[in-house]
């Protein structure tokens, strides 16, 4: 997490004294402080065990069983790798949900980041009113994950929705996009892109860190704006792009609410919005196949870990950390 772009809400004074504290020999822990450490940490430790670790292990165990919520935990039947076999070889709707999720992330995330960067570049000047623009662009990110907005969105792309009224102005006859298996997922992508405000704000913070001397020097050397953008702005911004890319991809994989609202919890029309987490929910809580759902959850976890690992291992080829900025 060394990728943060700006310091937390400004602390009251600068941190020059830390060196002094560091001279104390490491490794020697005074007894009272060691105990206090665990006293303060105890709620977190409890949560780590009870809310995170034990459920994780339980779900790993359940993924090898055919547990449904109705039988008692002590009576579950061990089925070995059956759930995983079924997932990978005998469940077309599972693979379909993987496809839908990957498609969603693959298209929506890059477009969202391009929109975020584009608007950030337009806003990256100090002038009056910039704060207002920044705030209003950010608003959808605050509201967009809610059921309320998903409801509005679905209606907007419905037969009588605002989008078709807009098309009507140009004499184009629209259709109920959200009921069309070809287009339903696209409307959800547009919803995700619409929430470009959060990465935009992070890009803006990153743009402020780019030293202006670089542009001055480049201008002296006769580099135009386009060249400056590709040679200075993009490389200098690459840590922030990387940060946004990782976060948005992981978030993109987890989209649930809008897909649930659009399809009324079914993943329809014709499974076209069956996002992975929605499939997980249906399997676990509608069909009560909790053993199978646990296996799906573990595959999801491993997949996300792999994707993150790929990002980090390829990142060193294109993420540029300047000396002062490397944290």
């Amino acid at each position: 997490m060394a990728l943060t772009t700006a310091p937390a809400p400004t602390p009251p004074a600068k941190k020059s004294v830390r060196a002094a504290a560091k001279t104390r020999r490491p490794g020697r822990i005074r007894h009272g402080e060691g105990l206090a450490g665990y006293v303060f940490l105890s709620p977190w430790l409890l949560g780590l065990m009870g809310i995170t670790a034990i459920p994780m292990l339980l779900s790993l165990y359940l993924s090898f069983t055919n547990y449904d919520i109705l039988t008692d935990l002590s009576d579950v039947e061990w089925v070995g790798l059956e759930n995983y076999r079924r997932m990978f070889t005998a469940d077309p709707s599972y693979w379909h949900s993987v496809q839908v999720t990957v498609m969603f992330a693959l298209i929506a995330v890059p477009l969202k980041l391009v929109a975020a960067l584009g608007v950030a570049l337009l806003l990256n000047r100090a002038w009056r009113g910039v704060g207002l623009f920044r705030g209003l662009f950010y608003l959808p990110s605050l509201l967009g994950g809610s059921v309320a907005l998903a409801i509005v969105w679905v209606n907007m792309f419905n037969r009588d929705g605002a989008f078709n009224s807009f098309l009507g102005l140009f004499g184009i006859e629209g259709k109920p996009w959200v009921n069309d298996p070809e287009w339903a997922l696209e409307t959800l992508m547009v919803l995700a892109i619409w929430q470009f405000g959060a990465p935009m704000v992070i890009f803006l913070a990153g743009l402020k860190q780019v030293p202006t001397e670089l542009y001055e020097a480049a201008a002296v050397d006769g580099a135009g704006r386009v060249r400056q953008f590709f040679r200075i702005t993009l490389p200098m911004l690459s840590p922030v792009i990387f940060f946004n890319l990782v976060l948005e991809t992981i978030n993109g994989f987890q989209g649930f609410t809008a897909a649930f609202v659009l399809s009324n919890g079914t993943g329809g029309p014709v499974d076209s919005t069956l996002m992975y987490t929605l499939n997980l929910y249906i399997t676990g809580f509608t069909e009560l196949e909790m053993g199978y759902a646990s296996a799906m959850a573990w595959v999801f976890l491993v997949a996300i870990a792999l994707v993150t690992a790929v990002f980090f291992s390829t990142g060193r080829f294109w993420v540029h950390y300047s000396d002062g900025d490397g944290h």
């Binding site: 206090a36 337009l122 705030g135 605050l142 309320a148 605002a162 959060a198 202006t212 002296v220 987890q254």
Partner: protein, 299 residues
């Protein structure tokens, strides 16, 4: 502007010309921004407009602004189900506020330990905490549900324990991380001074760290509230009695009745449900935008 203008400009005339083209560029820039803003705000304005339209106007008037503003959708939506929306709002407020309190207290305690205290395995636990930052919450929903059910916490007249209890155990690693980062910026000489005055770890927490951590606590409180208010997945899983429904879960009831006549009330209630978030946005706009800077997670 300076940064992007070649420094080697010569003569007054070129400078003036350049300044003029700079102004032109500003205008173009502003025009583009306004156009984008219009697209971005359109859905919100459409929602507000539709909420105030009469049933008839929703069908006939495709314009943004209602010809006649009517509050009918609000009263109708409010009482659309056997339980009034007021109850749903209270339920949501309760869950959100308890989450706020839980996150503020538990994450502050954990962050203090990580940022300031020296104890065995600190680095190990800290690495684990960072690891849980990226852990997708959906993965744990099934086993958590099973455990909470085993503990008899699911259902009943007060089904919110599974939603709220984890928040009192600092499971929102994001806020722990945010506060650790913040506390690292508080000068350690303050700790040392307090120590000389005889304060131990608890005293330093009470008299140095706690009062100075207010900005981080406020950020945590605001984001906790907004995220929980908008949260849907876990509330959907744990709440089954209509009496206990929170606002997001109640809103999905409208989707079931897909008749066209429900659109007005549905939009009105959707609009009302966004109001608290919007008010927070207006009041703390600056802070929210800066807060996202520090972390970028979620949002």
């Amino acid at each position: 502007m300076v940064a992007h203008t070649p420094v080697a400009a010569g003569g007054d005339r070129t400078a003036t010309a350049r300044r003029r083209s700079g102004v032109g560029r500003q205008v173009v820039r502003l025009a583009i921004l306004v156009a984008i803003l219009a697209v971005v705000l359109y859905p919100l304005i459409w929602m507000i407009g539709t909420s105030f339209k009469s049933q008839e106007e929703i069908v006939n008037n495709i314009g943004l602004i209602p010809r006649r503003f009517t509050p009918g959708n609000f009263t109708e939506g409010w009482n659309n189900f056997d339980v009034s929306f007021g109850r749903f709002f209270l339920n949501s407020a309760m869950v959100s506020l308890l989450t706020v309190v839980g996150n503020m207290v538990s994450c502050l305690l954990a962050a203090y330990a990580f940022a300031r205290l020296r104890f065995r395995l600190r680095r190990f636990w800290f690495a684990i905490m960072i690891g849980t930052l990226l852990l997708p919450g959906h993965v744990l929903t099934v086993p958590q549900y099973i455990l909470f059910r085993k503990l008899d916490m699911v259902g009943g007249p007060w089904p919110y324990l599974p939603l709220v209890l984890p928040q009192f155990l600092a499971t929102e690693a994001f806020f722990v991380f945010l506060m650790v980062q913040f506390m690292r910026g508080i000068p350690r000489e303050l700790d040392e001074a307090a120590k000389i005055d005889g304060a131990n770890a608890y005293g330093i927490f009470r008299y140095v760290i706690l009062p100075l951590s207010r900005p981080a606590l406020v950020t945590t409180a605001i984001f906790s509230f907004i995220w929980t208010w908008n949260e849907f997945f876990r509330q959907l899983v744990y709440i089954s009695d209509l009496d206990a429904y929170t606002v997001p879960v109640a809103l999905t009831l409208f989707i079931d009745s897909t008749s066209q006549s429900a659109v007005g009330p549905m939009f009105a209630m959707s609009l009302l449900s966004l109001l608290p978030v919007f008010l927070f946005f207006v009041a703390f706009q600056r802070m929210l935008v800066e807060g996202i800077n520090t972390s970028g997670l979620k949002g």
